[in-house]
């Protein structure tokens, strides 16, 4: 299982924005390896959520842990069968453990697009 989390500049705290998070953390539950990649959508003019979701798909994520997520991004993630969980607090490491212990709940409410207006 490969878990994706949008993270802040410090690369450990979960970012409140999915689409415009500066980095994404990818954790491989089988090997215990963590990778942090720059989010190519962070400075997109528009459609950042869509582009960030494509990034998560291309990075072969199975699970996403996020504070919130837009409808367009959710459409992409769901089309790729990625499970979306709601972050509990902003500590990335704690959420990784909580996710593997099945303590996180699925995110079911998705906000509408900001169309480039934050």
């Amino acid at each position: 299982m490969r878990i994706a989390i949008p993270v802040e500049e410090n690369k450990t705290d979960i970012c409140a924005s999915f689409g415009r998070a500066p980095y994404f953390l990818f954790y491989d539950a089988e090997t215990g390896k963590t990778e942090v990649r720059e989010n190519p959508a962070a400075r997109a003019q528009g459609g950042a959520g869509i582009k960030a979701a494509q990034f998560a798909v291309d990075e072969r994520a199975d699970v996403l842990i996020t504070i919130r997520c837009g409808q367009n991004a959710a459409d992409v993630l769901q089309a790729a069968n990625i499970q979306i969980y709601k972050a509990d607090g902003t500590n990335g490491a704690e959420n990784l453990i909580a996710c593997q212990e099945n303590r996180l709940i699925q995110l079911t409410h998705f906000h509408t697009g900001f169309q480039g207006v934050q």
Binding site: A41, I50, A80
Partner: protein, 278 residues
Amino acid sequence: MKIAVLSGKGGVGKTMVAVNLAAIAQQVAYVDCDVEEPNGRLFLKPEGVARESVCTLLPEFDASKCTGCRRCVEFCRFNALVYIKEKPLVFPEVCHACGGCQLACPEGAVCEKERPVGCVERGQHGSVRVITGILNAGEASGVPVIKAALRAGDAHGGLEIIDCPPGSACSVMESVASADYCLLVAEPTAFGFHNFQMVYELASLLGKPCGVVINKMDAPYDPLERFCETNGLPILLRIPYSRQLARLAANGEIIAEKDMEYAGQFNRLLEKIGGVRR
């Protein structure tokens, strides 16, 4: 001649000024480009209305030709395309119908089909041609409908009054691009002045001659007065904050058709801009 009526923020009185100018000018096309909430028609009450649909183009993908090279996805600067489960997927509300994905595709797997985004209504208020652009709810961009409304205005020929959307974004730029004159409606408040400066910046960047109407004025607002003086912006009309005018507007009536004093004032305004026909 095309006169664009615009203001930085909404609720300043663009439509009130635009419909009054149209009612005074008579042989004129009034074009409502405020396509998200076109309300000039509430005042002009056009008769014999005909409606024509406005479509935009949306890419369609031929799965049998697509090789998954993703050039279309990489090309789209609006991020309206994704590549999921070995096929491209488009988000219609995000797509700007630029046609770039079709050009970028080396396999000829992309074609475009029409998608309705709104309509243009044409009607008549006496000798005023009333053209209204109406955007479907939920659409992200009003530009295709604005373009269609302006084309309908041009087809009428002669004098045109363009009622612009509020703000100073793409839709406003589209509405004023072909105008010969920008009439800026201002409100004497800090908020109104802030947005007025933004819309003035846009109009001057586009090299348009500008004039100002101050609406809802109970006292001069110094920063606005000074700004107009410094920038050589003529203040062509000052309309007071009055219960009588508010009542007429709230009843959907055109002030210049009800009040001779204001009919004269709007006539002089039109004359000063150079759009007068009488």
